[in-house]
């Protein structure tokens, strides 16, 4: 049996496919071969291609190849006004579209010195926490599916649908929304907003218990995730990981606590951390984060104030010369927006610091020496959304 890829990737001497760094095995009998995971592969949600060097079924090296959905969003940003740019941001990480909107708006607010009224901040916090839950629900289902359990996928969608409906009513969009503006949001909260959230919180607490019964305590699930893809404290810091990957390895850093933005400092919530650094730790942290988000929502619903939802906006934004940076804690980690302005209506340069790109860089290290199936587990536990690493 000869294949074209075997010709291309023949291990004759020193040639290895692009990107691989470990030397060719000294062992003459080593039966190493290369397998493509992606781009159309079912476990690379979005379009990621990973070339895996396998010895039997053991991963020797995994090299991600990016660029399959590259859309040049950072370059496009230079030709659009600041307001127009907001709608490009939600195409980045479509599961945290509101966070991306918010991050861009915060950078503009910082530059223009615009404040946000209290009601506007409450809307922002509530919507963002709903989005975190929405994103985590999809992640939870997908994690189950990647481990071979299809049922969680559909269970996760049940509650996710309730949140998506709230978003639809608020902003008109269900996935890629264009909602936040410098100084607040595009629209005020609808009258159904609070009752719907109350209903959702009640349903979600019950569902969280159900999820834990279905997956979290399952012995096969524990066997598949415990001790798989361990990253130490030093490693996650070196790779620049953030989000659950960082906190799973015993580094307690969450932008909401350590560099508070919006009104997060007014709420009482915990940042879960774990010391193990394995896939199970990352899983448990994300499950706990869902409970914490519900706590924030409960507090916000009680105190939701009346008043203006947006400070008086300026007609055209012209950012003063200089560079501005803002960061938010998205469901996957730190998203940073860096804007360089030359004083015009359009940014001179925009750069996004995306959480997934940094998390992906740790994948090879975490998966080395484990089985092919573990690679999938690690990818799931890190919760990649590809468009934002592939800007």
């Amino acid at each position: 049996m000869t294949t074209q890829s075997a010709e291309k990737y023949r291990l004759d001497g020193d040639t290895l496919p692009e990107g691989f760094r470990l030397p060719v095995s000294d062992n003459e009998d080593a039966d190493e071969f290369f397998v493509n995971i992606g781009p159309q592969h079912p476990s690379t949600h979005g379009v990621l291609r990973i070339v895996v060097r396998l010895s039997g079924e053991t991963v020797v090296e995994a090299v991600p190849h990016l660029g399959y959905i590259h859309r040049g969003i950072e370059k496009m940003a230079e030709n659009q006004t600041y307001i127009q740019n907001i709608h490009l941001t939600d195409r980045l990480d479509y599961l945290s579209a509101f966070f991306n909107n918010l991050c861009f708006c915060m950078a503009v607010e910082q530059a223009m010195e615009i404040g946000v009224p209290e009601r506007g901040e409450y809307i922002r916090v509530m919507i963002c926490e709903l989005q975190r839950l929405q994103s985590h629900l999809l992640w939870w289902g997908v994690m189950g599916m990647d481990l071979g359990a299809f049922t969680p996928f559909l269970y996760g969608f049940r509650e996710r649908e309730m949140i998506t409906d709230i978003f639809e009513e608020m902003s008109g969009g269900r996935l890629t929304v264009n909602f936040f503006r410098p100084g607040g949001s595009a629209f005020d909260a609808t009258e159904n907003f609070i009752p719907r959230i109350k209903k959702f919180i009640k349903a979600m607490y019950k569902s969280l218990d159900e999820y834990n019964t279905l997956l979290s305590g399952n012995v096969i699930f524990l066997e598949r995730t415990r001790g798989v893809g361990i990253l130490t404290r030093e490693e996650v810091l070196a790779y620049g990981c953030s989000g659950a990957v960082l906190r799973g390895s015993d580094v307690c850093y969450d932008v909401r606590k350590n560099d508070p933005y919006s009104i997060y400092d007014q709420f009482d919530f915990d940042i879960p951390t774990k010391t193990e650094g394995d896939s199970l730790a990352r899983y448990q942290i994300k499950m706990e984060e869902m409970a914490q988000s519900l706590r924030i929502l409960e507090q916000a619903v009680k105190k939701f104030p009346e008043g203006p939802y947006r400070s008086q906006p300026k007609a055209i934004y012209k950012l003063p010369k200089g560079s501005y940076y803002s960061q938010v804690e998205t469901p996957r980690g730190i998203l940073g927006t860096y804007i360089v302005s030359d004083g015009g209506t359009k940014p001179y340069r925009v750069k996004y610091r995306s959480p997934n790109f940094s998390n992906l860089s740790a994948l090879n290290h975490a998966a080395q020496g484990l089985k092919l199936a573990d690679l999938v587990t690690i990818m799931s536990s890190m919760d990649f959304v590809i468009p934002d690493m592939d800007k």
């Binding site: 079912p42 071979g148 066997e223 598949r224 092919l372 199936a373 999938v376």
Partner: protein, 361 residues
């Protein structure tokens, strides 16, 4: 009176053929038997596919098939039509003969095992005295089909899936054979009919309860080993879609794919049927020793009990599939070689001791 004389292996249709055509009955009877088996196997596949989708639908809080016919009852027919009209594609560089041979083998294995399944006193095509050995021998064909299919596809993921599944099925075959051996030892017969007849009497005479305390354990071990043998979740490593795209059948389309799945579904029925035969008293009703209730239970014919018990086990297999995640290949292997196999040998030894002391049966 022994059970064999009470229920001789005769049936009405066979007797009629024998009296009408005394000369050629030996050829007409097997043909009738084979045709009825073909009908049974093909209708079973349709029923099981619909059942799987219905069970999945309910467990996953969705509708399942509802459109075609009443409650989607014609869905298997629609699926069949769709699969027949799909183009069969062969990858470049595939081994043509083996590529097309492979899907036939698992189906053949399933069909061959069905020939000796005791559905009722009078419903069994053949009853070889070494029935259990025959099953162990014949079921190897399905491993061969999967291995060849994966190898001939000229696809690395298929090859990986096939190799995994070969290792997995052969390993669990050992456990399965040992469990069957235990029952053969206890019942003193290797014919499936003999095994069923050895469980005659009350529900406590079934091997699951009769073999003191350990019958339930070996029954659960049978369930685990047979799930692995069936390549079903949580042991569906051969076709692990998140790792291997679709494993050994990645390159199969249309009827080639359908035949693999046809075999898998009927195989599920066969495994459940064997569990019924070995542990749950086969076609015997679950009598509890109270004459009024027993009389009512006895009204139902044996094959109803057989199919009832078998479909219950089938439901359990489906239940596994829609609630469990998948194990990893090394975990699967250590489960077999480090847990199931030693436990089986221990049970076999205990079984022998119990037999000598006269405790078991």
């Amino acid at each position: 009176m022994s059970a064999e004389t009470l229920y001789p292996l005769h049936n009405g249709i066979g007797n009629m053929v024998r009296s009408l055509f005394p000369e050629s009955a030996f050829i007409i009877n097997p043909i009738i038997g084979l045709i009825s088996l073909v009908v049974l196997v093909s209708s079973l596949a349709a029923v099981l596919i619909l059942l799987e989708r219905k069970v999945a639908g309910h467990m996953q809080l969705r509708h399942g098939p509802m459109r075609v016919g009443y409650h989607g009852i014609l869905q298997p027919l629609a699926d069949g039509v769709k699969l027949i009209f799909k183009e069969i594609m062969q990858p470049k560089g595939a081994d043509t003969f083996i590529f097309y041979l492979a899907p036939v083998l698992p189906l053949t294995a399933t069909f061959l095992v069905m020939t000796i399944m005791p559905f009722d006193h009078h419903l069994q095509l053949a009853d070889p005295s070494g029935g259990v050995l025959y099953i162990i021998g014949v079921s190897g064909l399905s491993v061969l089909g999967i291995l060849l299919g994966g190898w001939a596809s000229n696809n690395k993921l298929s090859l990986l899936g096939a190799m995994r599944s070969g290792a997995q099925m052969i390993s669990f075959e050992v456990s399965l054979a040992l469990i069957m051996l235990l029952i053969v030892m206890l019942s003193g017969s290797a014919s499936l009919r003999g095994i069923v007849l050895s469980q005659e009497g009350l529900i406590f005479d079934w091997w699951i309860f009769k073999f003191p305390f350990l019958g339930i354990l070996s029954f659960f071990m049978y369930l685990i080993a047979s799930t692995a043998e069936l390549n079903r979740t949580p042991f569906d490593l051969a076709e692990a879609e998140s790792e291997l795209s679709a494993g050994y059948h990645t390159e199969y389309s249309g009827m080639g794919f359908a035949m693999f799945f046809f075999a898998e579904f009927v195989n599920m029925f066969v495994s459940a049927g064997l569990a019924t035969t070995l542990f749950l008293g086969g076609f015997h009703p679950p009598l509890i020793g109270i004459s009024i209730i027993d009389g009512l239970l006895n009204l139902l014919p044996g094959f109803v009990w057989f199919f009832g018990k078998t479909f219950f086990i089938v439901f359990v297999y489906m239940w596994f599939r829609w609630t469990f995640p998948r194990v990893r290949i090394d975990q699967l292997m250590s489960l077999e070689w480090k847990m199931l196999l030693p436990l089986n040998l221990l049970l076999l030894t205990l079984g022998a001791v119990f037999m000598m002391l006269g405790w078991a049966g």
